[in-house]
Symmetry: C2
């Protein structure tokens, strides 16, 4: 594991394939034959290759003792000298019976900003994305939101440069806020982390910079099908945009007074109330209880000079890396990363019921979530969740793993946050459900429901209702023709 990031030519080929309407593509159903788009895409591909060359990161695993500014406390927690950024601590999960399970967990109590600028260009909505290198990225740079900043970043704890474009998301220069909600991140790896997801239409000029590029929203959605290209934070924010085809200017970038509707307004109040009650039921009856404990108290895990790993070697490891950067805010640093041992899986089963498209969601327990339960994909696997929240074989696993080309509507391996996770990948799939699946909620196990994308988006808008894997899948769902 570890080592310097390798820039593969395979990646550029995949980008080109997804963008070239004539080439064989890993996601052929998302190719749009429009000629002017192909021209735009060629420009994107050239920019991407250029940024990749400029942003090379060298990432080297090191022993924990070679992490400047980081140290282990008396309690075994791995902390930064400033007390900021994040801390590797422990979590103890207890179920209704049995001893439960301990694990390391990332504490990051500060609320960061994941912000996307959107504006009309050439008659269609464009978003301002950033070519950003992160130490844990599988492929060097990925497409990040306009702003991706922890509070420690933007208050410049590490004495790097100011966070570019942040002025459009806070303070007197803030633009028109179209989307603004607090959203959770991986409940298997973070202790109650949440970030502010924002989409803003800028007021006034947006400075140009070679790392940033306005890209048509429908192009971005097509690029979601390219492995490890659109990063988790971008997908999270895209997943907060209203459902459906690429929004028109009127729907997306008009002034906030007629902007996308707030919680509930777009959806039948009866159905939304029934859904939130169902989710509160799941939270109330969840038999698990999780609490933070000092890392030294975590049982079944051992710290060596280079890693913190579970004794069964089944779960993730905590490692340390030294990073030398090209274009990042500071040019050299070192940090811990959480390194999963294998990719996860997140699948939406979908079908049309009574002429209305629906996806099958599950009320899912993850120990690090604030309320323990949020809506997740139909199927979500991660060996790292471990036995405390056992991922038993579910009733929909067979459908989720289908390789029938007639059913596979989306299939790509995408990255989780490269600033905290080392090469964490998840295979995201959207599968047309078999007609034998019950179309009626009453025939499903009680933790599953068929939801329309509009219902899911109404729950996303409230915040803390839809987990990060499901938000990624919502972004992918919007990319489908």
């Amino acid at each position: 594991m570890g080592g310097a990031v390798i820039v593969t030519s395979r990646r550029s080929a995949a980008v080109a394939a997804a963008l070239d309407p004539d080439a064989a593509s890993p996601a052929p159903e998302r190719v749009d034959p429009a000629v002017e788009l192909a021209d735009l895409d060629a420009a994107f591909a050239a920019w991407w290759d250029e940024r990749r060359g400029a942003a090379r990161l060298s990432v080297t695993p090191v022993p924990f003792r070679d992490l400047p500014h980081w140290s282990f406390t008396r309690d075994g927690d791995l902390v930064h000298d400033s007390g900021r950024f994040f801390t590797v601590s422990g979590m103890r999960v207890r179920g209704p019976e049995g001893p439960g399970r301990d694990q390391p967990v990332i504490l990051q109590p500060e609320i960061g900003v994941l912000g996307l600028l959107v504006k009309q260009l050439d008659g269609e909505p464009h978003v301002l994305l950033q070519a950003k290198a992160e130490p844990g990225n599988i492929d060097g740079i990925q497409l990040s939101p306009t702003v991706q900043a922890t509070r420690s970043n933007y208050t410049r704890v590490h004495r790097g440069g100011a966070t570019r474009h942040l002025e459009h998301f806070r303070g007197p220069g803030r633009g028109r806020v179209l989307v603004d909600s607090l959203q959770s991140e991986q409940g298997a790896w973070f202790w109650r982390k949440h970030n502010r997801n924002m989409v803003v239409e800028p007021v006034g000029e947006v400075a140009e910079h070679p790392d940033f590029r306005w890209i048509a929203l429908r192009t971005v959605r097509r690029l979601l099908g390219v492995d490890h290209l659109v990063n988790m934070d971008t997908r999270s924010v895209l997943g907060c945009l209203p459902a459906g085809p690429v929004p028109t200017a009127a729907a997306l970038t008009e002034p906030v007074s007629r902007a996308p509707a707030p919680p509930g307004a777009a959806v039948d109040p009866l159905s939304l109330r029934a859904l939130t009650s169902w989710l509160i039921d799941a939270k109330q009856h969840c038999p698990w209880y999780a609490r933070p404990v000092p890392l030294a108290d975590v049982e079944g895990w051992t710290r060596t000079e280079t890693e913190i790993a579970d004794d069964a070697a089944r779960s993730f490891r905590i490692i340390a890396v030294r990073v030398e950067a090209g274009t990042r805010e500071v040019r050299q640093w070192a940090q811990p990363l959480l390194a999963p041992r294998r990719p996860g899986l997140a699948v939406f089963l979908c079908r049309s019921i009574g002429g209305v498209p629906r996806v099958l969601v599950r009320a899912r327990t993850e120990p690090g979530l604030g309320d323990l339960v949020e809506l997740g994909p139909t199927v979500q696997w991660s060996d790292d969740i471990g036995p405390a929240v056992p991922e038993e074989a579910g009733p929909f696993d067979g459908s989720a793993l289908s390789d029938d080309p007639a059913c596979v509507r989306f299939d790509a391996e995408l990255s989780e946050e490269g600033g905290r996770f080392h090469r964490a990948a998840t295979r995201y799939r959207i599968i047309e459900a078999d007609a034998t699946l019950p179309p009626c909620d009453a025939q499903l196990p009680d933790d599953y429901r068929w939801l329309t994308p509009h219902q899911l988006h109404a729950l996303v808008a409230i915040g803390h209702h839809v987990n990060v894997q499901a938000r990624s899948l919502l972004a992918c769902l919007a990319s489908l023709p």
Copy 2:
């Protein structure tokens, strides 16, 4: 402190005074001259006196060693043998600079149910309330919601009786859900506690029981003006009901499909979005950080045989009591209680701006709240919050303490939860604001806003947006003519 609860005749006199339209009343502006209501109230007063006699609790302070089934862990936490109910542990609060402050805190991670049954009787909405004795109550029994049960209660960890009427709030016999949301409780005393607040129209018969009584909603609202009569849990649920005058049958008890609107539907989406963004701003920029620590690690507090108290004797104490009960589920038990040293204060300043009534709310930091910040009253004082979250003299204290009869619209001393707190009282006031106060949000400090009751209710409906003191004041606001 401590000792057996004394049943005062003063209390009965106050109840009678509030109910008798001709008598001098402690809250004369809430007296309704309707004759048929006075008849109903006389019946209530008779029932109340009868229940008080039947439900006498004997509460005696005891040393911690005389708490059966409770013990101190190696870490100093005070826990129940079952691992359930609640735990007295510690909380460490750190600000942007300085050493911060430690304190004990109540951990109660389970989600309980505060449920109110509502139905039409004699052409107006009635709610089913319970005469319930709690060991910390100032006045023996108080008016509790139909169901007030922790998960440990209703799963019968203490082997008491089944929770009466719970079947109307969960499972296949559940009625029509009119209100259902997760709400926080005291962020100065609880670590991230939340309860499910529900209003339900029953389907089918509701069993009768001498502890329970259907009372007209407008009578209940009038009774809010009686000191220590309507308990915190009832106020919390009442505060989740839509604003305005007593709802008509059509507004409150019709089937859920046309029931009170879900988050946002009743309020201009622009204003709701702006408000939630403002509150997210406050959460994001809050410089405090709180985390649970073992009680043994709490600095500046000392445990004796009978109490855990801060060395400066300024904050609350943790004590232990033995209880002998008449009508409670189990007839004898012992438990810890949190005992404040003095009453708190919670005040809404209100005024009509442009013909629309508004209340002045504050984005308020409390270390035990999940997101640290929720909307609170204009002024909220409690010496128990302590210096970690300093309650500096605020710009509205003078108005809040006004004793000008022309301005005082509501003024009563009400109790906080008697199952966890020992004689915890808060003086709740609603004061007509001086015309010199800025009517425009831009002229206010940035943590204050003028909100309509409808806006506040839309935020309540989302859950985790409005603190328990503000919800109590919302209930009191609805009682005003």
